[in-house]
Chain length 203, copies 4
């Protein structure tokens, strides 16, 4: 889409009758991302984004509804190619890989910072919450379900409440990231998976 339009290749156009400026769109998303990482969510202001992106406020308001709307866009942009779908033929291995990836994403990437900010804002604004769930959470849970689907396809897992299982595996990860702030190491996520695959809790 970027290269499709002549006005977006090379020099930046200052308005034309052919639709929105792709360069402006990208500048806004990057500016929002940068501001979030540098100054936190409070630093993500429409005016700040406009100034940093060299874009008029009106252009932002024309295409986005709010700053969270921008962050959702930035997230879609950034998160789309991060995740893989492991398929090793072993449920445990797949789950371990999945949780490691999730933990890395949430704690060590710029997109993860966006997710945390949006998760925070979701606590304040039901509209954000709804979109956050339908856009991010659902996608993630779909990824969470893959290992179980693969296992089922292999004939394992006669019966299992997959949704509960995902809560049990992903829940502690989000809990540590958002609530306790403790690190989520590979050792930790591996332990979660090991435990889930039924090592005895009580001796």
């Amino acid at each position: 889409m970027t290269t499709a339009h002549p006005a977006d290749t090379g020099r930046r156009h200052h308005g034309n009758r052919h639709g929105r400026s792709e360069s402006a769109r990208i500048a806004v998303l990057e500016a929002a991302d940068d501001l979030l990482v540098e100054h936190g969510f409070a630093g993500v202001t429409i005016e700040g984004i406009a100034a940093k992106a060299g874009v008029a406020k009106q252009t932002i308001y024309r295409w986005w509804e709010s700053r969270t709307d921008i962050l959702f866009d930035a997230l879609t942009q950034d998160a789309s190619e991060f995740f893989t779908v492991p398929d090793t033929g072993d449920l445990g291995a797949d789950l371990r890989a999945r949780l490691r990836e999730l933990a890395t994403f949430l704690t060590a990437t710029d997109a993860g910072a966006v997710v945390r900010a949006l998760a925070g804002q979701a606590q304040h604004d039901p509209v954000v919450a709804t979109r956050f769930r339908s856009e991010f959470v659902m996608t993630q849970r779909d990824l969470d379900r893959q290992p179980f689907r693969h296992a089922a396809a292999r004939g394992e897992l006669a019966s299992l409440d997959t949704e509960l299982a995902i809560d049990q595996l992903a829940g502690p990860v989000y809990y540590r990231v958002l609530i306790t702030g403790q690190p989520v190491t590979p050792a930790y996520t591996d332990a979660l998976v090991d435990y889930f695959l039924c090592w005895p809790a009580v001796s």
Copy 2:
């Protein structure tokens, strides 16, 4: 004018050298609580609190650093007597009671709404995050530990990583409350405990 005031329990003093007005303090905390429940976190403004509490802005700034500071105070006030420490002599029963109580608190009480708002704000502000953890999370985890302590005192639980166990039990609850928004029913928390006490996940 004195009796017209919401916070007017007894005679209201208007400042003296012995420190703050207790009635003003309570009026502020209640106003903040009310605004949060009625209009969400964005509706919790210092001016709004001052107006609703019939208090001068300066009085708020004198005693609190920010609106989150007020909410922490309100939380301390409200949450202190909510929780019980179940001790039935059975680990499973204690854990089930504990998780039910936690879920109810987070989803069905005004103080729970404050917690969710603070958890949200913690994602935006490291200072809030730190205080949230030291003030709320630590207390909660202490309550989470009680069932295990009782069990250990009874000689059960030869060996167990209690901290991991808490993550596994509380994590999914917070995850559903803050992230997926799905209800956390007694049946759900009971299932978490049952699973944790090692019903087989894989047939």
Copy 3:
């Protein structure tokens, strides 16, 4: 809401790239003038002006530095067409006309009230004092000089310290207006001129 506005002459614009809103400017100046006349200088607050003019505070701060700045603007607006330059061919007649006009201006016009307020504020603030002198006092003294210039052009007044003369004529007027508060009647100003043109003071 648009038509409800006092300053709504024609269609009111709400900002554009070509600079300030003339209607807002006029509304501010009039509001400041009105507040000064009605409630005195203490009643001239930025918030009061903004409210009365139906203008945002920020708009005021964008174009004016202080309330005295506004009053200087209002004065320029109002005082510009008040004064005439008498030229009767007779020094005494010219001076009498000039002093009468000055006295009327200072004591009986809204712009005169502004001058008195600014003269007052000039005693408190050197910046105001400087501007007051360069903007108002200089202009007035120029008007004061006219009769003498005309006389000189006619060949009268072989030698005279004009500046001293102006002090002697205008000084008592300002002195009565600002200090003693006594009325400055035509009879009084005429007497000043008569005396100045050398009737004997001592018998």
Copy 4:
């Protein structure tokens, strides 16, 4: 009055049933004076005076009605012994001495700064204006009248409108001090007197 009370000699008392603390009174007047000279009239705040004088705000409000009230007190204290009443037996000499003294007082003394501030405030507040006239202006005009009284007693001055004369002599001085800001040198005041005693203005 200062030495009259035992509690005011030496250490400062902290309240008793015999009336006000003289030391507090003096500290307030001095603090007000200092603040005026150092930071201008805007710097003369009740809180500032209280802090600088080491006095409670209530003590100020108990004995004074406003900050101008304090300045009037300070003025009375300071101005009382400044002026002399010249009596050389010569009207011109007396007037010259009087005007020189007036000019010095207004431009070169702390009390003169107070007078200028009060004159300024008198333009904003009719109550201040009234008090300023009855307390300061009247006293000054009385001093202005002395040379003429002495001359009349000597049999000079068969007929003269003394009030007009004072306006003509003092007016230009106040005019320069308050309005034009030009210096008022002995040469200048001497010229005023010389001219008044009827040197020809027009050749």
